[in-house]
Structures are given as C-alpha cells and as structure tokens.
Point group: none
Chain length 127, copies 2
C-alpha cells in the first residue's frame, strides 16, 4: 500500500530534492511556502515520518534538539575531516568505510542502510 499522492507530500519531496542536503522540518516548511505551495507543519512532520519509516530518508538528531532530514543518497556520498580550530574541511572518500557499513548492516540483518561519519581534529596549521 503505497502512500497517496498528495500535493503536500509532493511539496515536501520537492523541497528535499531542492535542498540537496539536511533540513529541519521547519526549514522545509518555510521553503515550501516560499515556493508558493503550502503544507501545515504537522503534515510535513507526518510525511517526513512515513518517508523515514519507508527508508526514503535519513534522520539525524543533533545536540541542538531539532531533527534534520534528507533524502537517502545511497551513493555519491562522502565524509568530512573537520578542523576543530579553524574549521578547515577535507572531503574524504573512502571505500573502506562503505564496506564496513555494508558488512556491519548485514551482520545485524538490517536493510537499506545508509550512514554518516565525520572526523574532528586539529589540522597541521592549528595543531
């Protein structure tokens, strides 16, 4: 039973696609209205929940207290090495961790697995 194709759900998907990365429910709400469409915040939450349950998007719960969502990007993803001091960022593309994620997921019988990984340290200039 696939979900009903409503204007609101379409708007949420469109907003997420346009965003390309992580967004909070409230940001999506604002961006949807800015785009001329409309969808109640509650509706956005409901759609995000069902999409997440369906494995269509990733949810993160940062310390800030506001959850962030983004469309699943099974491929084309990479990681970051960030300097705690100056904020310099190096993009990491490592097959190792992809494989680790896949293996680990299989070991626990999880499917449709995505992952996040970030490294934080002091770069050579700041150390």
């Amino acid at each position: 039973m696939s979900p009903k194709r409503t204007q609101q759900r379409a708007a949420v998907v469109r907003a997420l696609e346009q965003a390309g990365g992580f967004r909070t429910a409230q940001q999506l709400h604002a961006e949807i209205q800015a785009g001329g469409s409309s969808a109640a915040l509650a509706t956005i939450y409901r759609n995000l929940s069902s999409m997440a349950a369906a494995g269509e998007l990733d949810v993160l719960h940062p310390p800030g207290g506001e959850a962030i969502y983004r469309l699943c990007q099974l491929q084309e993803h990479h990681h970051h090495l960030v300097c705690r001091s100056c904020g310099a960022t190096v993009e990491i593309d490592s097959p190792d961790i992809e494989e680790w994620a896949r293996k680990t997921a299989r070991r626990h019988r999880f499917r449709a697995v995505s992952h996040t990984a970030e490294l934080y340290g002091l770069c050579s200039r700041c150390a």
Copy 2:
C-alpha cells in the same frame, strides 16, 4: 574556578558512577531518590550541563528525544546501528572504523582526532 561541592551535585555523580553506563536525566532523578538523596530535576539538568561543558561526561541524543549521559570513558566508545522505523538500536564496536579514523587523520596530518559514525537502516522486523 571549580564548581561548588553541593549534596546534589555529589548525588548526581554518585548516581552516574553507580550506573556505569548511559542514563537519562529522569532515570538519574529516580535513582537518586531511590537512594535516599534528593535533587530537583532542574538541578540535575543544570549539573549535567555543566559537567558536559567541562568535558566530564558524554551526551548522546538518540531518536527517542531524550538525551542520555554517562561519565567520560575515553576508551570503550562505540557506534550505533539504528532502525529508521522502530528506533531499535544496536551498539557497534568495531576496531576497523577506529583504525580507519586514525589512518585517515594521519594521512591529512590532523591530530587529536575524534569521530562520529552512525548507521541507519531497517531492522529485520521492520523490513
């Protein structure tokens, strides 16, 4: 300037030590009362915040919405495999990713590197 040595703060520390692992603020509250001491929930939150800011404890923000705290244990850190649908969480302890983090950091001449890594998928019951 180190913090004041109050009964309440002591009770929080004691509860965390006794716990050994992660606890929510409310669990600590209950355990403190069960232990015969007393400390208002607000006070517990205040103490946990200051301890976290001082780097004395780790804080995690799981999907459930309730933060969990534990005394810092520089070793024994692990990652999580979380079900997008039901929130079930498996703790992962993998030397591979630790090594990957260390290697990657060295390759880019970063020091004092820490990292985060989380996996998201659908568990066998929800798939």
